[in-house]
């Protein structure tokens, strides 16, 4: 366990030192600022309320889970694998007395922590902006729902990250991984709209699954099904990704 911890700390430090993480944070803040400006504009321009203090974080979430969050998750995941393959720094990582499984897991955990950190950051700042600039519409229940929605969004993001990791271990070039990932993402999105009755098959539809938790009647069956689909995808993609990573020669 101590070995794994060391590997994890190592991975987090690598991630933290990279500019990409900082850019991601800045972009996330920019989304909040632009969103808030848009709301203020709509309010004074059209006389609409736009979004209340609680709806604003939800609005931000609905935008970021489909745009910058998957984008930066993919970038970070690609960097963590393809980047190190091409810079040959993976060799250094592998020469340490840590099994490949632990290295792989540490990398995935670091990515998951990155996603979680991003979500919390977005949650904090969008709530702050929501309370400062918007009409107060908060109740304890709705605040709890908002926080919960942000937390559960981690799971579909993780599936996405594992998918990108699998791609990163399949293709050599980081750029081609990035483009394939984006094309797949858009393709799945389009398929999800065209074949909405089969939408649960496409991983991108689960990005919005936090909506299920907001429903008054709480559709437990649906939530469990979606959870199991994502869990299954996680196991499948993790195993496939690790298989390729394990076989790789450097």
């Amino acid at each position: 366990m101590a070995v794994f911890q060391a590997a994890l700390v190592n991975e987090i430090e690598k991630l933290y030192k990279k500019k990409k993480a900082l850019v991601a944070v800045l972009l996330a803040l920019a989304v909040i600022v632009i969103g808030q400006l848009a709301i203020v504009g709509v309010r004074s321009g059209f006389g609409l309320r736009g979004a209340g203090s609680v709806e604003f974080p939800m609005l931000v979430l609905s935008v970021v889970v489909n745009t910058i969050l998957p984008l930066f998750t993919a970038l970070v995941a690609i960097d963590s694998f393809s980047g190190e393959f091409s810079q040959n720094s993976m060799r250094i990582t592998l020469t340490r007395p840590v099994s490949r499984f632990k290295i792989f897991t540490a990398k995935i955990t670091a990515i998951a922590l990155f996603i979680l950190a991003m979500l919390f950051l977005l949650l904090f700042f969008s709530m702050l902006a929501g309370f400062i600039f918007n009409t107060n519409s908060a109740t304890w229940v709705s605040v709890f729902q908002t926080v919960f929605s942000y937390i559960v969004s981690l799971l579909p993001m993780l599936v996405l990250a594992l998918g990108v990791v699998l791609l990163a271990n399949t293709f050599k070039n980081g750029i081609s991984v990035f483009f394939v990932a984006i094309l797949l993402f858009i393709g799945l999105k389009v398929l999800g709209v065209l074949f909405s009755q089969y939408s649960s098959l496409f991983m991108t539809t689960q990005l919005d699954w936090y909506n299920l938790f907001l429903i008054n009647s709480f559709p437990l069956g649906k939530i469990i099904r979606q959870f199991l689909i994502m869990l299954g995808s996680c196991i499948m993609l993790f195993t496939a990704g690790f298989y390729l990573f394990d076989k790789k020669e450097f």
Binding site: L48, R49, A51, T135, Q145, S196, N216, K222, G232, M236
Partner: protein, 415 residues
């Protein structure tokens, strides 16, 4: 060790795949409440247009502002497909029709309408009954564009599909319910709908509160009852719009709509007894675009005035005439000429007087005739016979000349 790792990987990969496959299949197979709602609507529309002999549809709408009723309306429609005949009763408060009940009855050959506060019965007789069958309820899902609309609706509804909750009762009937509060309504949808509603309320009604600030859709909810045959018996929808007026008072405008389907196969539609009633009768051809049943009525002279603008006044300088000398359902012939009043001959520089022949245009059903004149230099034109208005529309290019706007509408010259 090596073997163990491989097995473990194989097992976990298979497990993951199976998990995804089975739950995804289960998810596809399970019908969301939204799908059941859609099915119920489809079944109802299909049964109403094809199977039920008679039924009553009722729709009532109420608009409230902070609990005070601003407007309400109720409309009952009874259909008897075996006759076929239908009856319509409309009533409403608010600024329309002062609360009086309006009735109308219609079958293949006639339409009768009357009102509570008016003893007169208005009767229209139709000359072409075979074209009136379509006036009854037709299945909207049978339209060619219905599939596309359904796809679009599915995409728009998207993740809200699971908001519809289904409860099954012991007798096989279903209860559907759904409610969306402000957090659940996507912000973009909320903004677009609020803007739309705000403009609708503010634009055309005086008694509606004038919402100017902080307008948003607060809540949308609905319930529906589906009987054991899958037919929707009632659907109730409520939407609440909140906003502030110029004085800063908060208004909650709610719109409630209730639609019911009742008396299936037991509705009777009776033609009102007109004996001893004051009756205003007219014979119309419901569909003006259909073939004329008695084109001879258009024989004779039609005219309109030639006007000029002089000293800020319209001055009549003469008359245009179209004289139809021959007409049937395929061809027509006649003469067009202009007569100027004494003293205005100076305007008659290009006084026209020509004969024309016309042939029914290819356009299906329309009583439009293509004109050919003896001297083709006046160009081609069309005549349209307006059967309901008893007018003709004579358009030939180019007929307008300096300062005098050509008026193509001709009324019968009955003097």
């Amino acid at each position: 060790m090596k073997f163990n790792k491989k097995t473990a990987m194989l097992v976990s990969f298979t497990l993951g795949t199976l998990l995804v496959a089975t739950t995804a299949l289960a998810d596809i197979a399970s019908k969301s409440g939204y799908d059941q709602l859609k099915d119920a609507l489809k079944v109802t529309a299909q049964q109403c247009s094809e199977k039920f002999d008679s039924y009553t549809m009722d729709l009532s709408i109420e608009v409230k502002d902070n609990g005070k009723t601003l407007e309400s309306s109720d409309s009952t429609q009874k259909y008897d497909r075996s006759k076929p005949a239908s009856e319509n009763i409309n009533s409403g408060s608010g600024n329309q029709n002062n609360g009086a009940k309006q009735y109308s009855y219609s079958d293949k050959t006639s339409m009768i309408s009357w009102q509570d506060n008016d003893p007169t019965y208005y009767v229209s007789e139709y000359t072409n009954p075979e074209e009136r069958q379509a006036g009854f309820f037709s299945n909207p899902f049978k339209e060619s564009s219905a599939d596309d609309f359904e796809k679009i609706a599915d995409a728009v509804v998207g993740s809200l599909k699971d908001q519809v909750v289904v409860t099954e009762n012991s007798d096989g009937s279903l209860g559907l319910a759904g409610s969306l509060t402000e957090v659940q309504i996507p912000a973009l949808v909320n903004a677009v709908v609020s803007l739309q509603l705000k403009q609708q309320f503010n634009g055309n009604r005086k008694d509606m509160p004038h919402l100017t600030k902080d307008v948003f859709v607060k809540e949308v909810k609905g319930t529906a009852k589906v009987n054991k045959d899958g037919v929707m018996e009632s659907i109730l929808g409520t939407a609440v719009l909140s906003g502030k007026d110029e004085q800063g008072t908060v208004h909650e405008v709610s719109v409630e709509a209730l639609a019911t389907l009742s008396e299936i196969n037991s509705t009777t539609v009776t033609k009102p007894d007109l004996t001893g009633k004051k009756v205003v009768e007219n014979i119309t051809n419901e569909n003006p675009s259909s073939e004329m049943s008695n084109p001879e009525k258009f024989m004779g002279k039609f005219k309109n005035d030639i006007l000029i603008e002089k000293d800020n006044k319209f001055v009549k300088v003469g008359e245009r005439f179209v004289e139809i000398t021959q007409i049937d359902n395929k061809t027509a012939a006649g003469r067009y000429y202009e007569v100027y009043k004494p003293g205005f001959e100076e305007y008659a520089t290009a006084q026209r007087d020509f004969k024309f022949a016309a042939k029914k245009s290819e356009q299906q059903g329309n009583p439009i005739y293509d004109i050919t004149t003896e001297s083709m230099n006046t160009g081609k034109g069309i005549i349209y016979f307006d059967q309901n208005g008893g007018k003709i529309n004579f358009n030939i290019n180019p007929l307008s000349n300096g300062g005098l706007q050509f008026d193509s509408n001709f009324s019968p010259d009955l003097d």
